[in-house]
Each structure stands twice: as structure tokens, then as C-alpha cells.
Amino acid sequence: MTSTARRGRSSAVAAGPAVLWFLLFMIAPLVVLFVVSVGVRGPGGGYLPGFTLANYGELETRLVPILNTVRFSLIGTAVTLVVAYPLAYYLAMKAGRMRMVLLALIIVPFWTSMLIRTYAWIFLLGNNGIPEVLSTLGLADDLRLLNTPFAIVIGIVYNYLPLMLLPIYVSLERIDPSLRAASKDLGADRLATFRQVTLPLSAPGVLSGCLLVFIPVMGEYLIPVLLGGGRSYFLGNALADLFLQSRNWPLGAALAGSFILLMSFVVVGYSRLTRRLAGPLPTEGVL
């Protein structure tokens, strides 16, 4: 009894700094955000204390950036998945000794700033880049790539590829090769084996990858500005405008708060889904 009690007390002491950290950097900002979101906009912008839900009612005026963001995040995540899965499959199953080199080649570019990498795509997609090459080759004339939705998707896929690739790679790499051998032994050809064994066992990795890409893309700010030319307005851009340009803090806070709430539903849904799947969860302890 006494020893359990003592252990309980000492573990509470050990957890102290973590709890403090959590309160200070997780809970407190959320409280501030909520307080601001029910306040009113000051005459010159900013925030005045108050209590009104009007800001939440006003959210529907921001429906376009919200839908834009959700749409691009879904499309971007899907395209990233389609690009990353075969790559991860190749790395995990076929690359052999080249595996580490190839993984490094994929990851190393991401040590440079995202801003610089995205600027590089401005040049590539701009009139002197890929469209110029294509028209010289006589394949396409007057092709416009920069400042289109296509450019935004390219930007998303390029910038978030490792976040999708690595969890899928890990879950594929962990699949015991004898499971695939057993499947073939029992009469399944390569495609049937992939469909019934490899794909379901890599599902946790796919889910983690999708979540790891979807969440930051929802908060994306740079890509729509640089590659979309500001035509496709994202939530991140809307928030920046509300806080920095029109200085409507309460509305901005309401928008950001709703956004956080929405994302927590996504995360809860994710953890429900992964719990139903067998096999290792590469993001266990991360999310």
C-alpha cells in the first residue's frame, strides 16, 4: 500500500514538467484563441473583450477558402499517395543494397528550406521552364502551368512526398517476406498476393502517411501563394489576411478554432481506423 502510494506520488512529480509544458504550450494558447474568438473587433482592428458568437456565424463568408483548402488537401494527399506508394514498394521490396542510397536521395533535398524548393518550381513551371521545353519539342504550345491548380498539386506532392513515403516504406519493410511466399504457395499469383496480403498489411502506413500529409497541407500557406499565384485562396492565406491585413482578430480566431476542431476529428477518426487494423502502426506514439 505505502509503496504504491509512494510510487504514485513520485510519478506525479516526474510528470510535473510535462504537465506544465502541456498546460503552457497546448492548453493556454487554445484558451486564448477561444477567448479572442468570442470577443469583438476593435475600431482600428485587433481585439476588444466581449462575448458574442457572431464571429462563428460569420464563418460562412469564408466558405470559399475552407472548401478550397479541403479540396486541394484531399486531391494533394491522394496524388501524393499514388506517387509515393509505388516508390515505397520499390524501396522496400526491390531496391536491395541500393535502398539506403535511394532513401537518402529522396530525403536529402528536404534539408533545404521549403521556400527555396518552392521557388525552384516557380522557375520550372514558369514560361521559361517546362512549357518552353515542350513547345521547342513541338509537343504543346502556349502551355500554362504556373499559377494553376495543377501547380499547387505539384507543389504539394513535391514538398510532402517524404512524409507519405516514409511511413508506407516502414510498414512495407516490416512485412515478413515469408507471408508473401505463403500466399504464393497457397495459390495466389503476384497481383492476388498484393491485394490480399501486402496492401492490407501496409494500410497502417498508408493511413499514417495520408494523415501526415493531409494535416500540414490543410495549413499550407506558401504553395498557394507562390505556385497558385494567390488565385486559389487557402485557409492559411485567409487567416494571414484576417490577422495581418484586415486585422479582424476575433473572426480569425473563430476560423482558426473551427479549423483546429475539424482537424481533431480527422485525427480521432484516424486512430479509430488504425485500431481496427492489424499490424504495426509506424506513427504509434507520434500521433
Binding site: 505463403a182 500466399s183 495459390g187
Partner: protein, 382 residues
């Protein structure tokens, strides 16, 4: 084994392997292996790790393609047939159960792959029958992770048997089980095999397992089959000194062939000339070993008249001694033939013998109990 020339007349489950080889670069994992198997044979591939037995099994299953040779099953050749078309199934060393499927889904896997599709109700009843075969029909909804090692083993068996393979391949299936469970599973596997009447090819490095279960044992060494015979014959007449030492316990006395009279071969050793039954064709002057099983030796007290009944004797002192209830194992340091391991039943004359360390004893045996085996050493071969 009759030589088969015409594939047409061959029974369904008759397996014939001809000159099968597998080389990885310069390394020959399996070289020129041939054997044929009547349907319903429990066939053990026995050898130390790295002897090529697992590679041989993988070629039979279709996971490795042979560098040379042929595999025939029943009336057809399957050498180049992909694994998923072969009517052979495998029980994997660590079972390889699908972790995302329950027991029934695992067992029904092979049936769900078949085209034209098998009706759901038939799959269900065949899965149930297979689970009954291994006494697991009460757990169809469990996931593999919720099963004990022995239960997983049974699921793996049921899964491999559900599609009625003509030959079942087993890759050290008992190695992951604890000792007691292993003994139980040995008996169960054996009875399962005789009930089903199909051939089991059982890869193992455990000679006790092979001896107790198999109808036939092929001993493999460095990619080749050294000896392919019944367990009793293998134990009694090992083909060379390596096999003799690998199967059971054996005492060796080095020497050369001095001559042959009737069915006995004389061996000249440093301790004099001994006789024994040769297990292979030997030439005069060839390097051989006189091989003596511990249980074929007898122990006598030094002053006992009984020792005169033995054709050969060696006097010595007890060096080590261990008691096993019904029998006694002891090591005797002899003056003439070195240290000798002796196993004697306690029922006999054991009470007359001084087993204390340092006690004087006489080891005796008859020539017909000794074997003369050719000396094998790997350096000389390569």
C-alpha cells in the same frame, strides 16, 4: 525404388527429383540431388544448417528456381511451374500466418484463390474439416496473435492441408516449439500423415526428430545427399564417419583396411587389429574408422570372468559417469583406444561395476556390433 521411364503411368503423388542443383555464384547450395518418393512417404531431409536442405525444399515449393535438374510430380514436370500453380503446400518455419486474418480466413486462403471460384458454403465446410483435423475447430475467429505457439502451428498445418496437396513440405516446423510440445506434435504429425496418406517432406536439423518420425531419411551435407535410407538402417549402417558421428553418439577408432573375410572387415589400428561390418565398399589400405555405438558396448568388472565372452576388450578407468534412472552413461579412459562412451542398462550386471571416478573397468564388444566406415574429411574432398 523402380526406375521410372514413362511419366504417363505414374501415380498422382509420386515425386521424382533428378539431378537438381542450385548455385549462387560460385557457391553450390544444392548439387546434383536425385530421389523419388512413393505417395504416402514421410521423408525427412536431415542435415546441419547450411547443408542445402532448405534450398532444396524451396526449389520443390517453387520459391527458388533450380540451376539444373528436373522435378516431376505425378504424370507431369513442375520444374518451371510457378509456386502458386504447384499442387504442393508448405508449412513455414515460423508459420507465416497472415496477421490480418482470423484462423478461418487463414485456413480458407488457398480455397479462395481457386478458379473457378468455390462456393462460400463449401469453403466454410472444408475449412471446418481442416480445423477439425488439427483439433482447432473451436477457435475459428481468433487472430494468430491470440494463439499459442502450438495452436499457430496447427493453423499453419490446416492452412497447408485444406487444398489437399499431393505433397506437404514442412520447413523445420517444430523448431519454434518447446521440448514437450515438440514431442506431442511429432506424434500428431506422424499420425496425421498416415491418415491422409500423402507424402510429407520434412526438413530438420534434429536427428532425433527425423529418426522418430520418418519412413525415410536423406542425410544432406554440403548440398549433396550422402545417404538416403530408413531410420534404422541409417543408425545401424551409416555411410561414412561423418554420418556416423552426426546420427546419435558414436565412438571411433582410426585405422586402415587390412583385409576382408566373410562379411567382416579387418581394421588395423594403433591398438591392434579389430573386425567389424563394413557399411560401404572399401579398398585395402583405405583410411577407415571402427565405429562403436555406446549401447553396443558392455562393461565388466576387471576381475570378472564374463569379459571373456566378449570378442574384443579394452581395459580402462571410469572418467565420467551420469545416471539416467533406467540406464547409465559413462566415459571410460581406456589404455588402448582412448576415451570411450558406454551406455548400459541398469537392469543387467551394472551393480557389479565400480562406477566411481577412477574405478577400473573392462569395455567389451563383439565384432558383429562394430561398424567399419570410410573416413570423411571435408579438406580431402575439396
Amino acid at each position: 525404388m523402380t526406375a521410372v521411364t514413362n511419366d504417363e503411368q505414374v501415380a498422382e503423388g509420386f515425386l521424382r527429383v533428378v539431378g537438381l542443383s542450385k548455385a549462387y555464384g560460385d557457391v553450390r547450395a544444392v548439387s546434383n540431388v536425385s530421389f523419388s518418393l512413393e505417395p504416402g512417404t514421410f521423408f525427412a531431409l536431415l542435415g546441419p544448417s547450411g547443408c542445402g536442405k532448405t534450398t532444396l525444399l524451396k526449389m520443390l515449393a517453387g520459391f527458388e528456381s533450380p540451376s539444373a535438374g528436373e522435378i516431376h510430380l505425378g504424370p507431369g514436370e513442375i520444374t518451371d511451374m510457378p509456386a502458386f500453380r504447384r499442387p504442393l503446400n508448405t508449412v513455414f518455419q515460423h508459420y507465416a500466418l497472415f496477421p490480418h486474418m482470423d484462423v478461418a480466413k487463414n485456413v480458407g486462403y488457398a480455397l479462395r484463390q481457386q478458379r473457378p471460384r468455390i462456393a462460400k458454403s463449401e469453403i466454410e465446410s472444408r475449412v471446418n474439416a481442416a480445423l477439425q483435423l488439427v483439433q482447432l475447430d473451436h477457435l475459428p475467429r481468433r487472430r494468430p496473435s491470440e494463439l499459442s505457439g502450438g495452436q499457430q502451428q496447427r493453423v499453419a498445418l490446416a492452412r497447408a492441408l485444406v487444398a489437399h496437396p499431393s505433397v506437404l513440405l514442412l520447413d523445420e516446423p517444430l523448431s519454434a516449439l518447446d521440448a514437450k510440445l515438440r514431442v506431442d506434435m511429432q506424434a500428431e504429425l506422424k499420425s496425421l500423415q498416415s491418415r491422409l496418406g500423402i507424402s510429407f517432406i520434412f526438413v530438420t536439423h534434429d536427428q532425433g526428430e527425423a529418426l522418430s518420425m520418418a519412413d525415410r531419411i536423406a542425410v544432406m551435407r554440403e548440398g549433396e545427399i550422402v545417404q538416403d535410407t530408413t531410420p534404422m538402417d541409417l543408425y545401424d549402417r551409416p555411410a561414412d564417419s561423418w554420418v556416423a558421428g552426426f546420427i546419435g553418439t558414436m565412438n571411433f577408432v582410426a585405422g586402415t583396411v587390412a583385409g576382408v573375410s566373410d562379411d567382416l572387415t579387418q581394421v588395423e589400428t594403433e591398438a591392434g587389429t579389430f573386425s567389424g561390418i563394413a557399411t560401404a565398399d572399401l579398398n585395402s589400405g583405405q583410411d577407415v574408422r571402427l565405429a562403436l555405438r555406446p549401447e553396443r558396448l558392455r562393461l565388466f568388472a576387471p576381475d570378472s570372468d564374463d569379459s571373456k565372452a566378449a570378442e574384443c576388450t579394452a581395459t580402462g578407468v571410469v572418467e565420467a559417469f551420469s545416471f539416467h534412472g533406467d540406464q547409465v552413461d559413462c566415459t571410460v579412459r581406456t589404455q588402448t583406444i582412448g576415451a570411450v562412451k558406454v551406455r548400459i542398462p541398469l537392469a543387467g550386471t551394472a551393480h557389479e561395476i565400480d562406477f566411481q571416478s577412477g574405478g577400473a573397468v573392462v569395455v567389451g564388444w563383439n565384432s558383429r556390433d562394430a561398424r567399419v566406415v570410410p573416413t570423411w574429411n571435408s579438406a580431402a574432398k575439396s
